[in-house]
Point group: C2
Chain length 413, copies 2
C-alpha cells in the first residue's frame, strides 16, 4: 500500500492537468467521485452568469439575441464540444435535454433510412433511451421497438427491418466502452444506422465520430463537461446526412429564416436544423463558459489520466477490500473502460456509499447492488484516489456502514 | 394632450402596482415596450442565481437534486404559474421550450382523440406553432395538417376528422384575444380538442382554463413572466385528461419512478408525465425566482392596468400621429385586446422603431409593416406611455426616422 501511495504522489507530480483543479470550486476536503453524474462548478461560470444577467439580459435586453450572440449559442457552444468527439465546426447543435435529443435522433434515423421501421435499442442503455424510443414507437403506428438483450451481439439482431441501432458508447453502470468503428461498420453492412449516446463519453473517453463513420450522436453536458445541473445536451449528425436529415421537433430556431415568419418550415442548412425552440440562454451560457476550459486541455493526456486513475483505484481496492464481498463489474482492460469504476456489493453497498458520503467521499449507488465511482481527470488527483480507497477500506473493515442512519433511501441514490 | 398627461399622472398616482417597478432592473431612462418579447431582470433573480451556483451546485452538488428540490422544480415552478391561467396545483409542468411543448400537446391530443387524425392550426399563430405541427404530421404517416385561414371561423373547418384545434389565445401580431370558453365549446361540440398557446397571455391577460373547460395549453415564460432569455416553457392538461394522456417525449423525468430504472416507461401520475428529460436547473431557478413576485400581485388590478395602458397609448397615438400613415391593427375594444398594441406603417415602420430604440423607447417590428409595443403592467407607468407617444410623434413629425442608420436590418427586428 505504501508503494501505491508513493506511486500516486509520483503520478500527481508529473500530471500535466494538475493545475486545472484550481479552475473548480469544490468544498474543502471533499473527494468528488460523482463528476460522471454532475460536474462541479467551474469558477469562471460565476462571472459569466453575472455578466449575462446584468449586462446582456439587464442592459442589452431583447437586442442581446443578436448583439450578445444568444441566437448563435446552440452552434457556437456546439463548436466547443466538437473537438472532444471527433466532429467538425458547425456539426454539433446544443439545446434541449439528452432525452429530447434522443427522440430527434431516432426520428431522424427513421427518416434517413426510409422503409425500415424497427428501432433496436440496447437493453443496457440508460433507461431514458428506451423510454424515448417507446414514446416514438407508440406515436408512429408502424414503428416497432426491439431490444438487444445484455450480451447479445448486435449483428444477431440486425435484420432487414432495423432502421437504427441505439447504443451507449460507454455503459452507465459498468463503464464498458463499445468499439464504435467496428459496431458502426457491422450495422452499416446490414443497412442500419447507429445512434450513439455519448453521455458518459464526452470529456473523459476518446471518441472520434468521423473516424468511426458514425451517423448520429447525442450526449450530456452536465457530467464531465461541468455545464451545470441539467445543462443543455448536444446532437450531431454526420455531414453526409446533415443536408437531407429531417427531425420532427422542427421549431422556429431550426428554420432557415426564423424571422421571415413564413408558414412553411424550411430547415436551416446543416446541424442547425437539429435546434427546436428558443435556447435556454442562462443554462447555455453557463455551459459555454465551462467549455472554455477545454481549449487548453491536451486530450491525450486527459484520456491517459482517466485510465491511470481508474486503474489505480481498481488495483488499490482489489488489494485491500475484496475480502469484504466487492466484485468489479467494470472492464479490467483500461482501453475498454470509461472514466468510472463500479463494484457490486450486494450486502451493504448502498450503506457503504452513504458512509463514504458522510466522510466527504462522494460516489453514487445504482440499485440493486452497484457502487459507482467517477474519476474526472480535470480536478481529481491520484492522491485523492488513494484517500478514497483508504476510507472505503476503513468503512468495510470496521463495518462503519452498518448503521441505521446510512439506510435511508432518497430519490437520487 | 395636456389633459392626457394629467390623466396619465393621475392614473400613476392611484396605480396599486406602481411600487413593483422597483423589483426590476431597467437601464436608466429606458422606456421598455418589449416585455411581450423578453421581460427585464427581476432584481431578486441575481441573488437566487448566486445561491444556486455557489450553494446548491457548488456545495450541495449531486445531493441538491433532492435537498434543494431540483427534481421537483418542474412542478413547483408550475404551481406558481397555475393561478395566472386558471389552473390548479400539480396541473402545470415546466420545462423544455414552447415549441417542444407544442409537439407534446399536439401528440397528446391525437392520443386522447383517437381515430381523428387532422391537426387544424390557425394560420395566424406564431410560426413555430405551424412548424411543430408540420413536424408531427411528417413523422406520423396518417396525420394531416390543415390551416384555418385568417378570418375563417373555426366552426366552418371543424369536421369529423379534426382531432385538435391549435390556437393562440392572444395573437402575437394584433393582440386580438380569442374567446376561449366559446371556442372551446364549439370545438367540443364538433368532437375536437383545443390546444391553446398562452405565450402572449400569461401574466398580462385574464385566462381561466378551468372555467373555459379547456383541454391542453402551453405557454412561454420569458415575456410577461420575466423568467429570462429562453426560460423554460409550461404545459397544462385538464385534470380530466391528465391520468390517461400520453405524450411521446416520454423521458425519465416524467416516469412514475425515475430512479427505479425499469425498462418500461410508466408515466407519472398527472401533469408530471409532461416532463421529458433532466430539467435545466439554472434557467428554471431564475424563472422560479421571477415568479415569486406574482404572489403579491392583484390580478384584477394587473389586467385593468394592461387595458388602461394600451387604451391610453392608442388614444394618444391616434390623437397625434395618424396623419403620418399609421393604422391600428389591434382591437379597439380593450376586452378583446392583449397587452400589446400594433400599428401598421408601410412607409418607414421599420425605421421609426429603430429611431425610437435610439431614443431609449424599445418596441419591435414585425415584417412587413407592423410596429409592436408591449405594455407590461408590472414595471411601466402611464407617464412612460405618454413619453413614448411623445417620442413617436416627434420622430414622425420631423421625419427623424428617415436616415440611413435606421435602415440596417438585423436578425431580430
Amino acid at each position: 500500500m505504501t508503494d501505491r501511495w508513493a506511486h500516486a504522489a509520483a503520478l500527481d507530480a508529473i500530471d500535466p492537468l494538475a493545475s486545472l483543479a484550481t479552475e473548480f470550486d469544490l468544498p474543502d476536503g471533499m473527494i468528488y467521485l460523482d463528476g460522471n453524474s454532475l460536474g462541479p462548478v467551474p469558477t469562471r461560470v460565476r462571472e459569466r452568469l453575472t455578466h449575462v444577467v446584468n449586462s446582456e439580459w439587464g442592459h442589452g435586453l431583447i437586442r442581446s439575441w443578436t448583439d450578445a450572440g444568444w441566437f448563435s449559442l446552440p452552434m457556437t457552444v456546439g463548436d466547443r464540444i466538437a473537438p472532444l468527439i471527433g466532429a467538425g465546426p458547425g456539426e454539433v447543435a446544443v439545446g434541449d435535454s439528452t432525452s429530447v435529443n434522443l427522440f430527434k435522433g431516432l426520428a431522424a434515423a427513421l427518416h434517413l433510412n426510409a422503409g425500415r421501421r424497427v428501432l433496436l435499442a440496447d437493453a443496457g442503455n440508460f433507461p431514458t433511451d428506451a423510454y424515448m424510443a417507446q414514446g416514438l414507437a407508440e406515436l408512429v403506428p408502424d414503428v416497432r421497438l426491439r431490444y438487444l438483450e445484455p450480451g447479445q451481439p448486435a449483428a444477431t439482431a440486425l435484420d432487414g427491418d432495423v432502421a437504427v441501432l441505439l447504443l451507449s458508447h460507454v455503459d452507465y453502470r459498468t463503464a464498458r466502452v463499445q468499439d464504435m468503428a467496428r459496431t458502426t461498420a457491422d450495422a452499416h453492412e446490414r443497412g442500419a444506422l447507429v445512434l450513439w449516446d455519448l453521455s458518459h463519453t464526452t470529456g473523459a473517453v476518446p471518441c472520434d465520430l468521423m473516424a468511426a463513420d458514425a451517423d448520429i450522436a447525442v450526449g450530456c453536458t452536465y457530467k464531465y463537461l461541468n455545464g451545470g445541473p441539467g445543462a443543455p445536451a448536444f446532437s450531431w449528425v454526420h455531414p453526409r446526412h446533415a443536408l437531407r436529415v429531417r427531425q420532427p421537433l422542427s421549431g422556429w430556431m431550426g428554420h432557415a429564416s426564423p424571422f421571415a415568419f413564413t408558414r412553411e418550415y424550411e430547415p436551416a442548412a446543416g446541424a442547425r436544423r437539429l435546434v427546436a425552440g428558443t435556447p435556454h440562454v442562462l443554462s447555455l451560457a453557463a455551459l459555454d463558459e465551462a467549455l472554455t476550459l477545454w481549449s487548453t486541455v491536451d486530450l491525450e493526456a486527459l484520456w491517459a489520466k482517466s485510465r491511470a486513475m481508474t486503474t489505480l483505484f481498481i488495483e488499490a481496492v482489489e488489494a485491500s477490500c475484496t475480502s469484504y464481498g466487492l466484485t468489479l463489474i467494470s472492464p479490467r482492460d483500461a482501453t475498454q473502460r470509461g472514466s468510472h469504476v463500479s463494484f457490486d456489493l450486494p450486502e451493504g453497498g448502498f450503506e457503504v456509499v452513504q458512509a463514504l458520503i458522510a466522510r466527504g467521499v462522494i460516489g453514487d449507488f445504482r440499485a440493486p447492488a452497484t457502487m459507482r465511482f467517477g474519476f474526472a481527470p480535470l480536478y481529481l488527483s491520484f492522491t485523492q484516489v488513494m484517500h478514497a480507497v483508504g476510507h472505503l477500506h476503513d468503512i468495510l473493515a470496521t463495518r462503519a456502514w452498518d448503521q441505521p442512519r446510512f439506510r435511508t433511501r432518497g430519490l437520487v441514490t
